[in-house]
Amino acid sequence: MAILYTIISVCYYLIIAFITFVIARNLVKTKNFQEAILFSVMLMPFILRILRIK
């Protein structure tokens, strides 16, 4: 069971990492300055979770 918990937990970090990647890519690509600001703000919780800080 402990191994399964670890695998599932890792999957969650991968999901978060993927979402972070897509938001970051959108930040680079967007031509809209409002979107750019929003994307950078949206990154905050995802980055800190990946780093296991919060």
Binding site: I8, I19, V22, M42, P45, L48
Partner: protein, 430 residues
């Protein structure tokens, strides 16, 4: 304390208004309001930790609707949605009532799973809209049906974001909401469908099928059904054998169901592209949830949240019963999901204290809120509807006006649920 909290509320309102006047999006306007309030509260400093911490408030909820929408998009891209719509039309074109009934159910599924009405519009809205048009329903009525069913799908269980957020804020288990939410959302969506679409011409099957996209040849009930069966199985397994299987969580369940959808798809799916598109289309939603979290944190920090809560809980009950049907949708139009923790939590505490059934009361409110998704300034689901359906009429005079009677019906039954919450408490369960 009153002055300070009142000042903060004023700062929020003014800065939000100025930001909107400067044509900033709702999300950024809220962010500006939150930062301005934070600076005023802290006497010129920026409480950075609070701004960042607030962004975590709805992280788990965001994960649920991102993965759920990914799942629904896979079903759509694999041709599953087109297959379902064609199957319903083919099987029931001779019976208008049955056809409308099953189309209503189909419209409820995406929002029920994701908690987002916009997802319903984006995944099944256009296709169902096409069928409704071929059933002789006018353009404005089709748009109204799609909007109301989408709003009801967001309210439908298992995932109702307003109820989840308000329940979490009042330390109340999100348990027992299934039946009341189902009854209300089904009643509302069926009323809208039959009231607006009950009369019309018989479906011209061949014409309708010609207009609907053809699913891949190998698509069948097994291929479209198994991912849903897997999803339901995982949800049920977590309840039936909770201590024999590891804790999966809803996002992981959607990912597993998505894997089945990918393998069962008759055509090769561009997974990365679909995933990217999913997140792109959800950015307004994820963005607003993150910004709402920041705003709520700053309001809690400064006492503004307490002042609003106090104002709400000290209102006489008759005023609430008489006004909530208006207050909730209007506030939803203004603040989106932020209204659930802001107004929902104190209301739940008040209802609890007054001896009302909090689950029925919150279910009623959680069905009224999505009605506001057609109202400005946000109008998220309303805008998505007119965009997806390529609606050519006028937003207010055609689309909104046509939606008013079904909206009124839903708000009325929800208000009755509020007033008679104790009498309806037998609905609580699951």
């Amino acid at each position: 304390m009153y002055f300070h909290a009142g000042l903060i509320l004023a700062v929020i309102a003014v800065s939000f208004g100025i930001a909107k006047a400067l044509k900033l999006s709702v999300e950024l306007s809220m962010l500006v309001a939150a930062v301005a309030a934070a600076i005023v509260h802290s006497g010129g400093a920026i409480p950075v930790r609070h701004l960042v911490e607030g962004s975590f408030t709805y992280l788990d909820v965001c994960l649920i609707f991102i993965t759920a929408t990914f799942f629904m998009n896979l079903i759509k891209e694999s041709g599953g949605v087109a297959f379902l719509v064609r199957s319903i039309v083919t099987a029931f074109h001779k019976s208008r009532a049955l056809c409308l009934f099953f189309l209503t159910l189909l419209l409820l599924i995406p929002g029920a799973l994701t908690g987002s009405g916009a997802t319903t519009v984006l995944t099944v809205g256009t296709l169902v809209g096409t069928v409704l048009t071929y059933m002789g329903i006018s353009e404005k009525r089709v748009a109204a049906i799609i909007f109301i069913c989408a709003a009801m799908s967001a309210a439908a269980p298992p995932v109702n974001l307003w109820a989840m957020m308000a329940a979490a804020g009042s330390n109340m288990p999100y348990v027992g909401f299934f039946v009341p939410l189902l009854v209300l959302s089904l009643a509302g969506s069926l009323f809208a469908m039959f009231f607006l679409g009950g009369k019309g011409k018989k479906v011209e099957l061949s014409e309708a099928l010609k207009e609907l996209p053809a699913p891949p040849e190998k698509m069948n009930w097994v291929r479209v059904g198994i991912p849903f069966v897997v999803l339901i199985f995982l949800i049920m397994a977590g309840r039936i054998w909770p201590h024999s299987i590891p804790t999966l969580g809803l996002p992981f369940m959607f990912v597993v169901a998505s894997i089945f959808a990918i393998f069962l798809s008759p055509k090769k799916l561009e997974i990365l592209k679909i995933a990217t598109n999913t997140i792109n289309t959800l950015i307004p939603l994820v963005g607003i949830m993150i910004v709402v979290g920041i705003l709520i944190q700053i309001m809690a920090l400064s006492g503004a949240r307490g002042l609003i809560s106090l104002a709400v809980v000290t209102l006489p009950m008759w005023v609430l019963f008489a006004a909530l049907w208006l207050i909730l949708p209007v506030s939803e139009g203004l603040l989106q999901y932020a209204v659930a923790p802001l107004l929902g939590v104190p209301l739940i505490l008040l209802f609890n204290m007054k001896g009302m059934d909090a689950i029925i009361a919150l279910s009623a409110m959680a069905v009224m809120w999505p009605m506001g998704d057609i109202l400005p300034p946000t109008a998220v689901v309303g805008r998505a509807t007119v965009m997806e359906l390529k609606f050519k009429g006028r937003y207010y005079k055609d689309f909104l006006k046509t939606s008013l009677i079904p909206m009124g019906f839903i708000l009325l039954i929800a208000t009755l649920f509020l007033i008679f919450s104790n009498e309806l408490s037998f609905l609580v369960g699951g």
